[in-house]
Amino acid sequence: MELLKAQNIEKKFVNHLALDNVNISIPENSIYGLLGPNGAGKTTLIRIINRITAPDKGEILLKGRPLQPEDVNIIGYLPEERGLYKKMKVGEQALYLARLKGLSKRDALKRLKYWFEKFEMQAWWNKKVEELSKGMAQKVQFVTTILHEPELLIFDEPFSGFDPINANMLKQEIIELKKKGATIIFSTHNMASVEELCDHITLINQSRNILEGHIDDIRKKYKSNIYEISFNGEIEKLEKSLNKYYEIIDKTKVNGHNAVRVKLLHQTNDNELLSLIIPSVEIISFNEVIPSMNDIFIKVVNEYKN
């Protein structure tokens, strides 16, 4: 079941087409990675989902019906370029932003208390934002984004500006939010965190989404039938045991052991490979090399260029 669906979205600015017939569907209770090079149109899509701008064509469906103005109250948005009122006190500001999302004053205060304690930010309540460090302000902003317990969360580069400890804490919170039932759109250039967090991804390039699906399916789709074998024994012996259907593309060491990367040619499979090499060397590990999202990203974007 999709929480959110974008159908045939098109958005034109004066000199260029920002989104061209973009279709995405975001499954409920998933973390959905929105990937793409700079200027691909991700922010425009996010703004359309947030009802900040309207598409020229197409529509956004939330739980199967068109997105309504009130729906902004069940969306939490953390933009890439973050900011708060510098002269306003942290507490007042958090309260204001929460109430703008439709929370009552009482609920907002109760929840703020919880989160400020959890993140150890109570001491900041009466400070002005300009007195906080950048990281501290980011934390405040994160809290205000999730305070109204939105069903849909949109994080645009959430980890930028955080130190590793806080970034990790944030990651745990995001996982926690998903466990509680939230659906999360996650836009980033950090592919490692995509692999770690995302269930589904879409890749937007030059205003179009050129790749969409479950992250495991995508990685399987882009796997190149390469296996990595580490073993005790001589490489030459292993080489001799292979026939013409296999090609050694790399010789390395893994944890002090010899290792090779073997590409399967034609219709052979991994079991046949195993049965061929078992007699020759002592196998320590045998893995399929699955391409990283980083590799896929670069590959797909470059292919698209050509």
Partner: protein, 446 residues
């Protein structure tokens, strides 16, 4: 609707809590009160030292003819020489020595006033007036006009202006007061539009540069944010204005009851009139003088003819109308730029009509019925200033209604126009925006 209320209250509360607002609110009335009280105080400080002036009248015409006042006394010395007085001047307790030469009747400059210090203007003019009158009388008498006729000749013309109202009543009016009230309210509107319009602009730029705008408009619509800001600041303006009036009255009444108890019994409206008169500073001296009480009451009566309720009401209307009209344009400018220094090129078209309004105001005060006055008080961009100047003089109702109606229509239009620029502008960064660009934004689909 709830969201716009939240935005309005944030705009209002953060501004009202600002130190600058509190300082302005307190300093303003002190300044206004000082402007009104200080001249009155200075007037009441009129030299209370008694000045004795020795008169050596060689012509013999003026003996005992120059009237003493409370503070200027004349002593007519016979058989004294100027040199004697001069030699002993520091021992004698004279402020000055007036020497009148015998040829005074045909040589008006044959009068000398000797003193150590520069004699005050009031002393000089008192003497000159008394002598002129005496000489005049003497000449008239020499033409055979007797004392009785001389007395009856004296006439002091003061024109009382009376307006016929549409309901056939007569109402005493005062051009001077209408001028002062018109000037003050026209200028105040100009000042408020600039002051609070610029605040709207600065607020928009602040939200844009601090990047919070994207968060807010993911919760509320850009138009709500813009209107919330404009309305919030309008309320700040009204609060400040009302506090100024209230505090000014409190200060003035307080100061008056403490320092000028004889005026303390007057009601506030009279105090306003009093203050207005005092600002004009010439009549003010006379109003305090008991012998001019008649004139004072006449002015008071005519001040009552000015409908302060009407002026107050239309001031609030034209302030709000003008502010909404210009405030929305200021918001649009703020949204189109990245920082305040870039606002210059867009400020010009806004500043010109306002400054024009001020120039026309100077002319309208002289001639509130001219066609310049009429047109500029109807055209919405100048009408808040110019119409406010005309209203104390009395303006036909249909003109006021037309002017108000057009103002409302225009600010609805300008708000719509500004809203379109605003919602595109607030998300535009790092782009040098020109008028062509703004035109494109206007045509974007919402």
């Amino acid at each position: 609707m709830n969201k716009i209320k939240l935005i309005i209250s944030r705009e209002y509360i953060t501004r009202v809590k600002k130190k600058s607002f509190i300082v302005m609110t307190i300093l303003g009335p002190i300044l206004f009160a000082a402007m009104m009280i200080v001249p009155a105080w200075l007037a009441s400080m009129k030299d209370t030292d008694v000045k004795n002036i020795a008169v050596i009248d060689s012509s013999g015409i003026f003996i005992n003819k120059i009237a003493d006042t409370d503070y200027i006394k004349f002593e007519y010395l016979k058989n004294k020489k100027l040199e004697e007085l001069r030699a002993n001047f520091s021992e004698l307790d004279y402020y000055a020595v007036l020497q009148i030469l015998p040829n005074i009747t045909y040589e008006p400059s044959a009068v000398h006033l000797y003193s150590k210090k520069q004699p005050s203007f009031s002393v000089k003019s008192h003497i000159a007036n008394a002598m002129e009158k005496e000489l005049q009388n003497k000449k008239l008498r020499s033409h055979g006009i007797d004392e009785e006729v001389l007395k009856s000749i004296k006439s002091d013309v003061s024109i009382r202006t009376i307006q016929w109202t549409d309901d056939g009543e007569e109402k005493e009016s005062s051009t001077e007061i209408a001028m002062v009230v018109g000037y003050a309210s026209g200028f105040l509107i100009y000042f408020f539009i600039f002051l609070f319009g610029a605040q709207v602009m600065r607020g928009v730029i602040e939200e844009k540069t601090s990047r919070i705008v994207e968060i807010i408009i993911s919760s509320a619509r850009p138009f709500q944010l813009m209107m919330g800001k404009i309305v919030g600041i309008a309320l700040v303006g009204l609060t400040q204005f009302l506090l100024w009036i209230l505090l000014t009255f409190i200060i003035i009444t307080g100061v008056k009851t403490v320092f000028f108890p004889e005026l303390g019994t007057k009601n506030t409206q009279e105090i306003v009139v009093q203050d207005l008169l005092e600002q004009q500073n010439i009549p003010q001296v006379e109003t305090i003088d008991p012998q001019n009480m008649d004139k004072f009451t006449s002015i008071l009566n005519s001040a009552k003819s000015i409908d302060f309720g009407l002026i107050f009401g239309s001031f609030i209307f034209f302030f709000l109308g003008g502010y909404l009209l210009y405030g929305s344009l200021f918001a649009a400018i703020g949204s189109a730029v990245d920082n305040e220094t870039d606002t210059q090129q867009f400020m010009l078209p806004i500043t010109i009509p306002l400054i024009l309004g001020i120039f026309v105001m100077m002319n309208v005060v002289q001639n509130p019925e001219s066609s310049v006055a009429f047109w500029f008080s109807i055209i919405p961009f100048t009408s808040p200033i110019v119409m406010m100047v005309r209203i104390p003089f009395g303006v036909p109702y249909w003109e006021v209604a037309l002017s108000m109606g057009l103002l409302v229509l225009t600010f609805i239009g300008s708000t719509w126009f500004a809203g379109k620029i605003y919602r595109t502008g607030i998300l535009m960064y790092g782009k040098k925006v020109n008028y062509k660009e703004l035109w494109k934004w206007l045509r974007y689909k919402s």
